[in-house]
């Protein structure tokens, strides 16, 4: 690897002085990272402000919790973890700027962060250029694989295929209406879903619609759904639109007694804003639900509530974010070093048997082996888990679905 | 209906059948008006008679509902404002409308009829010719000594003159003045009357004014407007003795 501070051009010699002035007195070890004998610095990069703060708050909290727990149990390689938190402010260039700051100025050993695909795409070249390490928690569209990123959420096929199979089998669904917010994740997800519905399930897609992010009027869409009478509405609406969508569906009398609906984008976090009563009986496909019944999860939920209050809710991404620091710890310990290249090399094959979702394993392609689950929305804002798949191999570049 | 016909040589300005209505209210109603070269015409009338609206219509600020305005053989009702100005119509507003942040010199220079298009203005040069012309006009409007004065420091009367001067820079064939002596001292009025008589040489002047003494001192002919129509027209004396005019002015 190139050392991080390249000073080859004579023009830059002058800047050395400045760099010395600005360096933060960090005693960098020979790996070029902010690691001292007692401390290792990591970065946390989420939106604490702006429109995405709604979604990213849970991730911030979960990562903090995991880091505290690791520190309480003795840290990593004898060092306590120190966190530098940066606010991406829901603004992609800010993400890029802060990512660079974390890697270049703070010399963090790993970054836990990003939520939207857009923010990840904005920071990705920086992580690759500066050879950083990012743990990315959100379920996303796939079509990406980077040496410098570990994806702790599900890629699209993991989330979609099993759930479609399940709904086709248990509900005998043949016709589908696809609806999403207008950006890459819903569009890619729907593309995969359509291929699967048409080629594997031999069903038909009777409608496909995308609405701008932040759209709040779904009356026309609801009427279209009523007209087409699909067996299943397959939804990936996000953000504030999500709330409007389900409230208006319910108000228009489209509820679970009349219509089967399967969503990819509603976790416990979103339900808080939507209100469980507005979508009771609908289904969501996730790898994790707060109500999951296993000892790991019970301990996790308890610890989370102890720290953030008894009303705190935990969604899929929150749990995936919680995995990040633990996966990193396991890889660092396996590698015996904080060096990014060594940690990356050690990552594939890392297992986490203590994961709240049960069990995960890092794949060669930096995604996780995980199970897919279907939860039914309960009026109290929780999910009842009614189906659980086998462990699914991550496949970010699915053949036949592109 | 008062239709007044003239069989003189072709008038500079010929308004025929001019009508404009605002939401059904006819501010100017089937108006006919003809102005000759070298003539100073004063339009009088009670408030709301439509005097200012007539000026607005001529200079294109307001669009006519019907009728025609012929100026030197050009139909003004369809032309854009700046083309009307370039055709030779200059108009002074009721309240002095000058650029207060600029000096007298710059105010006059702004109206110099060159550099009127974007690129022209960008590369406009203050040539000796421009300076000479500005100084000439400044002397004419009694501001020859105040060229470097910031315009907002001028007295009200001087501002009125400055605006007239800005029009003179364009050397218009038809000069329209809306209440040019409002707010002026007696002395200034006399000077303005003299100014108007001087500059009406070689052009036509259309004035709206309330001050009858001033009107007497400049008008060649007077038109009385009432409710958007011509009530009377002729010499000051004939108009003043017209019973219809007296009734309108003195009221019921």
């Amino acid at each position: 690897m190139e050392p991080r501070l390249i000073r080859s051009k004579p023009l830059l010699a002058l800047s050395l002085l400045a760099a010395a002035l600005f360096s933060q007195g960090v005693l960098a070890d020979n790996e070029g990272l902010a690691v001292t004998a007692t401390e290792v610095t990591v970065g946390q990069l989420h939106s604490a402000t702006g429109t995405m703060a709604i979604s990213e708050t849970g991730s911030i909290q979960a990562e903090r919790l995991a880091i505290e727990q690791i520190n309480a149990s003795g840290g990593i390689l004898g060092r306590q973890i120190k966190v530098v938190q940066e606010d991406g402010a829901s603004d992609w260039p800010t993400f890029a700027e802060k990512a660079k700051k974390l890697l270049v100025n703070d010399k963090v050993a790993a970054v836990f962060g990003c939520w939207t695909s857009a923010s990840r795409k904005a920071v990705l070249p920086i992580f690759e250029k500066e050879n950083g390490l990012l743990y990315y928690p959100t379920f996303y569209e796939g079509l990406e694989q980077s040496k410098n990123v570990i994806y702790t959420g599900q890629e699209a096929t993991q989330q979609i295929l099993a759930s479609l199979d399940w709904i086709a089998k248990t509900k005998g669904a043949k016709t589908f209406y696809l609806v999403g917010s207008d950006y890459i994740w819903p569009r890619t997800s729907m593309k995969i879903a359509r291929k699967h519905i048409e080629n594997v399930l031999h069903g038909t897609v009777v409608g496909e619609d995308y609405y701008p992010l932040g759209n709040t009027q779904f009356g026309s869409l609801i009427n279209k759904v009523k007209l087409k009478k699909p067996d299943v509405v397959f939804a990936a609406v996000v953000g504030g639109s999500n709330v409007a969508f389900y409230k208006q569906l319910n108000a228009a009398g489209v509820n679970s007694s009349k219509q089967t609906l399967l969503t990819l984008s509603v976790t416990e976090d979103e339900l808080l804003g939507i209100g469980g009563e507005n979508m009771a009986g609908f289904y969501a496909s996730m790898k994790y639900f707060q109500s999951l019944d296993n000892p790991n999860n019970k301990a996790f939920v308890e610890a989370f509530k102890a720290k953030y209050g008894k009303d705190a809710v935990i969604g899929d991404v929150t749990q995936a974010a919680y995995l990040g620091p633990w996966l990193w710890k396991a890889a660092v310990e396996k590698a015996g070093s904080f060096d990014v290249d060594k940690v990356v090399a050690a990552s594939p094959g890392i297992e986490l048997k203590t994961a709240p979702e049960g069990y995960v394993k890092v794949h060669e392609n930096h995604h996780l082996w995980s199970k897919s689950r279907i939860g039914e929305v309960l009026p109290n804002g929780q999910f009842k888990v009614i189906y659980e798949s086998d462990l699914i191999e991550p496949n970010p570049f699915p053949k036949g679905y592109q | 209906m008062t239709a007044v016909g003239f069989e003189m040589k072709k008038p500079v300005l010929a308004i025929e059948g001019l009508t404009v209505s605002f939401d059904g209210f006819k501010a100017v109603d089937n108006l006919n008006l003809y102005i000759d070269r070298n003539e100073v015409r004063v339009v009088i009338g009670p408030n709301g008679a439509g005097k200012t609206t007539v000026l607005d219509l001529i200079c294109g600020k307001t669009r006519a509902t019907s009728g025609s305005i012929q100026f030197d053989g050009q139909e003004l009702t369809k032309m854009r404002e700046y083309n009307i100005v370039r055709a030779g119509v200059g108009r002074k507003f009721q309240n002095p409308s000058i650029y207060e942040n600029l000096t007298v010199f710059e105010n006059l220079e702004m109206s110099y009829p060159a550099g009127r298009k974007v690129w022209g203005a960008l590369f406009f040069k203050r040539s000796a010719q421009v300076i000479a012309r500005v100084e000439e006009v400044a002397r004419e409007i009694f501001l020859g000594d105040l060229l470097q004065q910031q315009a907002d420091l001028l007295s009200h009367g001087q501002k009125q003159w400055l605006e007239i001067g800005m029009l003179l820079m364009q050397d218009p064939e038809l000069l329209m003045l809306d209440e040019p002596v409002a707010g002026m001292s007696v002395n200034e009025r006399a000077q303005t009357a003299e100014l108007l008589n001087r500059i009406s040489q070689g052009r036509s002047v259309l004035v709206i004014e309330h001050d009858m003494e001033f009107v007497k001192s400049i008008a060649h002919k007077v038109t009385v407007l009432h409710q958007g129509k011509v009530l009377a027209e002729g010499s000051m004396e004939s108009v003043q003795s017209n019973p219809k005019v007296i009734e309108v002015y003195l009221g019921h």
Partner: protein, 386 residues
Amino acid sequence: MKALDKLLGGQQNLIGIMLLAVLILVVFPLTLDAFRLNMVGKYLTYAFVAVGLVLCWGYGGILSLGQGVFFGVGGYCMAMFLKLEASDPQSTKIQSTPGIPDFMDWNQITELPWLWQPFHSFTFTVFAVIAVPVLLAFIIGIALFKRRVGDVYFSIVTQAIALILTVLIVGQQGLTGGVNGITDLKTLLGWDLRTDSAKMILYFISAGLLFGCIFIGRFILASKLGRLLMAMRDKEERVRFSGYDVASFKIFVFCVAAAFSAIGGAMFALQVGFMSPSFVGIVPSIEMVIFAAVGGRMSLLGAVYGALLVNYGKTYFSESFPELWLYLMGGLFIAVVMYFPNGLAGLWDSHGRQALAKLLRRKPAPKAEIAPVTPKAETKILETQP
């Protein structure tokens, strides 16, 4: 002689511009590390927009709330070229269709769309960076100014245009990269943009272009056209009835502002390495107005300081006080607008200059570049509302 003096805005402003040049060309490169310098470089790209806004808003009275549109279009033109260069068949061989940008491949596009074809040429790209936004501004200008859409209406319509363009870019993701934008730009004509030396050179190019724009702005303001702009802002009717086609001057200055913004956008894409619809929308567009307002809407140099300061503040406060920075930003905007309508430049003129003069034991400076924004100047907006 006089013309040159005027161009530089007199001795006082010559000093001002020298100071700024020293700050940007000497002080920053010497004291900041590569990362911080790159950030300043990014702020400078916003300064282009702010300088344009001084011309069209401060002097012309045209408040455009859609400058992000031009910044974005300029940036997208540049990003398209860079993306094509980054998407050569070799480095995209894992795609189903190698040789096209990755996001197109994800959207099942198998052939480069015609809109992208000309962006293989660098010459065309440089031309398009300026020409496309200017053409857009020209069309918007013709449509709105010729029809005399009023000041406030103009602001709101430009805002709606910003919204439309954002929705379009996000919706046409096969063509534009959608909400993610065009990312992962690597090289310019084979020159790796991601190295520190490249960033340093780009920084100086940005600074040079920015000073170019300031000089163009100075030239415009010093010409008769500059005086006409102010005259139009304060007495539009008088100008119109002095034989000027008011709309054409507004269109001109709007186009100039658009061109400046577009250069900023292109430099942004080069320095930051991506372009996304988040620069096109309403929020960034208003923020750009704020840069100009904080710096001083009547001062070309002030706009640069405004852009630097507000962005630095944003970075600093969001790093140090993530909870508080929106309060601080909001408070700053309110304070500037309410109490310092001439921004930093106004403060400098009313206080700083004298203090400096005293310090140097010289007579206070004569006349400022800044003509004060008289509240009177804007009352007419209220009055001419129907």
